[in-house]
């Protein structure tokens, strides 16, 4: 049925439809209303799950790890400092090959305190072995949470479903909420092959000597390779059931595109009318939206971007001392192209701490790159320029 929900409500409904069995969570803005809604659903009997209230995010994920180890479908949600506090157990969940799904509402890291969106919280968990998927709409949030359980349970890796603070979390949108029967036919009950079982006692999380540790890590990496195909397959299967097919990388107006904007999350949605406008003005621009970020779709990006003249990567994040994180990853993927097919790549860092990325900003960035007004490897967008970089670096006001 169609309904109007907030992005956070969309997550909660998807968790309900996925029949999560254990939800263990701790509140933090802007995520809190996800777990409030789930708690209400559990209290009203709309979701047959155990809701575990804990004293920290570290314990929230510990609860999910325990539940998942016992074979239950487990979910949690968090943001920013909460995700950072989970960090030790983020590694644990992936290493233990537990198909937990976590919704992270992107929120900028403190200090200075911010409750607004950027991607440094989720991207600083990049190397933990979790899969990550970035959503552009509440519809995609619903569909991706359900798909995440399916993919996670197939490849035995946890998934972080990521949505922008406020631009999605607190915005009401019209969403097609799938029927329970559809989700049930898509997502069978979890059968975890290595679940704790009293009939077959085993020790989990043991000491692993150097002669075996690497083998476990190699298997995690192979599972990521496998997952790329599974995300594609599951996105198509969902399309057959609902009419909404999802790709690992979403492309828009790429026919004849000589300049390509690569970005993720809601900026990729706002960019579409901008691309239309620029096309009408004769600028041959196209759009690539990174949806699945881990596993990283390097070969897809090579085939989409190879031979184009210019690529602009827009990052709502920064790896301090280097580039935007999507920018680095896109560039490293393109290095494997023959030199004649390598586009020139520029990076723009924008929208940190929830600063808006407007259609006008996007138009200015794209025309700037197209007309060679923007040629630096990395441009910080819309910040007061530092006259003397050495002085600016040490000034605290």
């Amino acid at each position: 049925m169609r309904m109007v929900v907030k992005g956070n409500g969309a997550v909660a409904h998807a968790v309900r439809l996925s029949r999560a069995q254990v939800v263990s969570a701790y509140p933090i803005t802007p995520q809190t209303s996800i777990i409030e809604e789930i708690a209400t659903m559990v209290a009203k009997g709309q979701l047959d799950a155990r809701f575990i209230k804990v004293e920290s995010e570290h314990s929230a994920l510990a609860g999910c790890i325990s539940a998942s180890s016992a074979g239950a479908r487990a979910f949690t949600a968090t943001s920013a400092q909460g995700l950072a506090l989970m960090h030790e157990l983020i590694h644990w969940a992936a290493g233990a090959r537990l198909p937990i799904v976590l919704a992270n509402v992107n929120r900028a890291m403190a200090p200075g305190w911010s409750i607004w969106t950027d991607q440094n919280d989720s991207l600083s968990q990049r190397d933990t072995g979790w899969m990550q998927i970035y959503c552009e709409s509440s519809q995609e949030v619903v569909d991706s949470v359900i798909q995440a359980f399916k993919v996670s349970e197939r490849v035995l890796l946890p998934t972080m479903v990521v949505l922008d603070a406020f631009f999605l979390s607190h915005t009401f949108e019209d969403v097609e909420m799938p029927e329970q029967e559809v989700v049930d036919s898509f997502l069978p009950p979890l059968e975890l092959p290595h679940k704790m079982d009293l009939a077959h006692p085993a020790a989990l999380g043991n000491l692993v000597f150097p002669d075996r540790y690497m083998e476990f890590r190699r298997k995690m990496d192979l599972a990521h390779d496998l997952a790329l195909g599974v995300w594609d397959e599951v996105g198509r299967e969902w399309g057959q059931l609902t009419g909404r097919t999802y790709r690992i990388v979403e492309e828009y107006r790429m026919d004849g595109a000589e300049l390509v904007l690569v970005t993720a999350a809601t900026a990729g949605s706002t960019a579409r009318p901008v691309v239309d406008q620029l096309r009408e003005a004769g600028v041959p621009v196209g759009l690539v939206r990174l949806r699945v970020f881990r596993p990283f779709p390097a070969s897809i990006l090579r085939s989409l971007l190879g031979g184009r003249a210019k690529v602009l990567v827009l990052d709502r994040n920064c790896s301090f001392g280097h580039h935007g994180i999507f920018h680095q990853e896109v560039k490293s993927a393109l290095y494997d192209l023959p030199q004649a097919e390598q586009p020139r790549v520029c990076g723009v860092i924008a929208g940190l701490g929830g600063r808006d990325i407007t259609p006008d900003d996007l138009e200015e960035m794209l025309t700037g790159v197209w007309k060679d007004r923007i040629t630096d490897p990395v441009t910080w967008w819309d910040v007061l320029s530092a006259q003397d970089p050495a002085k600016a670096a040490l000034a605290m006001s």
Binding site: W116, A165, F167, H170, T171, T270, D356, P359
Partner: protein
């Protein structure tokens, strides 16, 4: 696409008003977005909320800077000059103010289609909120229907019943009464 900005004070129901408009337009087959000004809210402090409506899916996911319509739940935001309510508002846009005054009193705001409705009086009569701080958000939306015609009073009534947790019928009645009580001043020099 229609973009609307709602100004009020924390506790007056600006955010719920945005949600009700979205629900009403959704019932007429439109694609919708409704969101608060992103951040924290305090009771009595100026707040804003926003709505986008379109026959096509709404792809722009940013704040609204140049609204086509403006709702002011509390005239003191204007008279005490607390907020520049018309900032970025498009020329010829409609501006609806909760006020017992005639719209001509607000003609200094600029070249807009200015309308007023005494939503506070109507809300008090229907016992919505208290006499000192009436909840005016549903009443004023009836006036929005009358002024703009982009959603029907029937759809608004359904949206109010689906969204407002207490006294839904009194809220619907207030909206209907406000629809009949709105007075409009056509913009000078703007044909619309």
């Amino acid at each position: 696409m229609i973009e609307i900005r709602i100004h009020g004070r924390g506790g007056q129901g600006a955010v719920v008003a945005s949600q009700i408009i979205a629900e009403a337009a959704f019932r007429e087959g439109m694609h919708v977005q409704a969101f608060p000004s992103f951040g924290s809210e305090r009771r009595g402090a100026p707040v804003a909320a926003f709505v986008r409506l379109d026959r096509e899916p709404v792809l722009i996911r940013t704040e609204i800077y140049e609204p086509d319509g403006l709702i002011v739940l509390d005239q003191s935001l204007i008279t005490q000059k607390l907020v520049d309510v018309t900032q970025g508002v498009k020329e010829g846009a409609w501006v609806l103010i909760n006020s017992a005054h005639e719209p001509a009193e607000f003609s200094h705001l600029g070249p807009f289609k200015i309308a007023t409705v005494d939503a506070s009086r109507i809300a008090i009569e229907h016992r919505l909120g208290s006499i000192t701080s009436p909840i005016v958000n549903t009443a004023i939306l009836g006036a929005v229907c009358q002024l703009t015609g982009f959603v029907s009073l029937d759809s608004l009534g359904e949206a109010i019943r689906a969204t407002v947790p207490i006294k839904p019928e009194a809220n619907v009645a207030a909206a209907v009464e406000a629809a009949a009580a709105v007075s409009v001043l056509a913009p000078q020099g703007v044909g619309r």
